[in-house]
Symmetry: C2
Subunit: 291 residues, 2 copies
């Protein structure tokens, strides 16, 4: 069994991006610039955004954090988006989710200029992904493709089972891995809450991508020997033995599944760290496409 080390791979990627930034600077150009909008004081959101800002610093990007009050009107937020859309100094930006309930999230995301939509959430980017046109891939699926490639995991003709059909992981992942690409050309099945005989699907899978948000859902008796397992889940599970009172659990029963797997991502330290790295990569792409 080999661990797919997302932390190490993410660090490799960041170093590569930092080198690119150095050569951009040397050529006398301004550096890539990522902005993030955060609304309100949600603790988890603040942590995520802070780590994105920190990652920007590390690779030499400029970053701008736009902090807006919880009670901002939708209209005012849309104006803020428009400002970023029209600010030529900013290459890409993200709107940290979730937004307060009085704001229509979809309406906000729709207004982001697709050329600056480095989260890849805008319908135009999603459509361009499906049609295999230049686009921004959503960061988590993009990170999984990168991880598979860097560990030289063959996917062509393999049976891939994706657990979950969410807009940001399951769906794009299933599309990408079935396209003609590196880490693609697989025969992909999407399983979800309505799937019957799930075990039959997972037992025949060469690669399983678990993205359903149910802690330790995938058990050892559901997978075959030599399977490759990518665990996208990350849920807080009460655990009195921990100082914080909880531990982070993936969608995979890691202790037992890892004994049968050829490759497996840990949680934490697997898919998670890749996500921020791919956001940086998308920002670099946005910069390069503009310049």
């Amino acid at each position: 069994m080999q661990i797919l080390d997302g932390r190490k791979t993410s660090n490799d990627l960041k170093e590569e991006i930092a080198l690119e930034v150095l050569s951009i600077k040397k050529a006398g150009n301004k550096t890539p610039h990522l902005a993030a909008i955060i609304v309100g004081n949600d603790g988890a959101s603040q942590t995520y955004v802070a780590s994105k800002v920190k990652a920007c610093k590390r690779v030499g990007f400029q970053s701008t954090l736009v902090e807006l009050p919880e009670n901002i009107t939708e209209k005012k937020l849309l104006q803020e988006i428009d400002i970023l859309n029209n600010n030529n100094a900013i290459d890409g930006f993200i709107v940290q989710l979730p937004l307060p309930k009085h704001i229509n999230e979809q309406k906000v995301l729709m207004l982001v200029n697709p050329d600056k939509d480095v989260d890849g959430f805008h319908p135009t980017n999603v459509g361009r992904m499906v049609l295999d046109l230049p686009c921004f891939l959503p960061a988590t699926p993009f990170g999984i493709l990168e991880l598979l490639e860097r560990y030289n995991i063959k996917t062509s003709g393999k049976n891939v089972v994706v657990l979950g059909r969410s807009h940001i992981v399951g769906r794009p992942m299933s599309i990408l891995m079935s396209q003609k690409r590196n880490a693609g050309n697989a025969t992909v099945t999407v399983c979800h809450s309505r799937t019957k005989n799930l075990k039959e699907f997972t037992l025949s899978a060469d690669i399983i991508i678990a993205a359903i948000g149910i802690p330790e859902f995938l058990k050892a008796n559901m997978v075959k020997e030599g399977v490759v397992v990518i665990d996208v889940g990350i849920t807080r599970v009460d655990d009195a033995t921990k100082k914080k009172g909880y531990r982070l659990a993936g969608d995979v029963d890691y202790v037992h599944v890892s004994k049968k797997a050829a490759f497996i991502t840990p949680v934490p330290g697997g898919v998670g760290p890749m996500t921020i790295a791919m956001l940086l990569k998308n920002t670099l792409l946005a910069f390069q496409r503009k310049n």
Copy 2:
């Protein structure tokens, strides 16, 4: 075995649309208006477009045919698209494909206003489909969903195998049937040229959608008893016994597969007629969304 009669279902749909048009007229409104651009003199394209115009007449739509010469410049064609985009009297329009080789098809399709893109080919419509937002579904997959619904074929929790990953049939079909919707909630596997052990997939399928363009590819020994078969293929096959010297063949070995199938679409007379009906349906939707 029951035939999924696309011709009859398509006629039912057209009658329903014609009734809607009548009530639109009665309310004193102008009627829905579909335009089609055709470039050059390709025989097959001319036949297709002519049947679309005829279908418009039948349901009481206005239609406009824009015929452009084979040697038109890309720039001039883009201008024609812009004219239709800005013509408020036109609710939806299509660009008949293929276009002459000197023209960038993708560039042309990208310029079509997504709100008038009744073929559902624009990336924004594709993305909106994936994200389950209001959109125009591409006509062939839309027609298959309609056929399954009208014959009350249960899809929730069923194993669906889609043969082919094309942008206009296989890919959207696989996404739609796995979403939460009527004729959805299925466990969908996309198979293609790189798939290994294809027969294992097709043998376990409750529903097979064949869209690969290889005549009579799907044989009886590849399907289980009681399977539902949707045949999207339509290829001319030499046949000296026919007056025209050819016959039309689907992707399914109909004679033998139909003996095992619970439901099956014939070729011709299955999926084909549904496609034009759904183009009309999309035009009606475009009209309704605007008004």
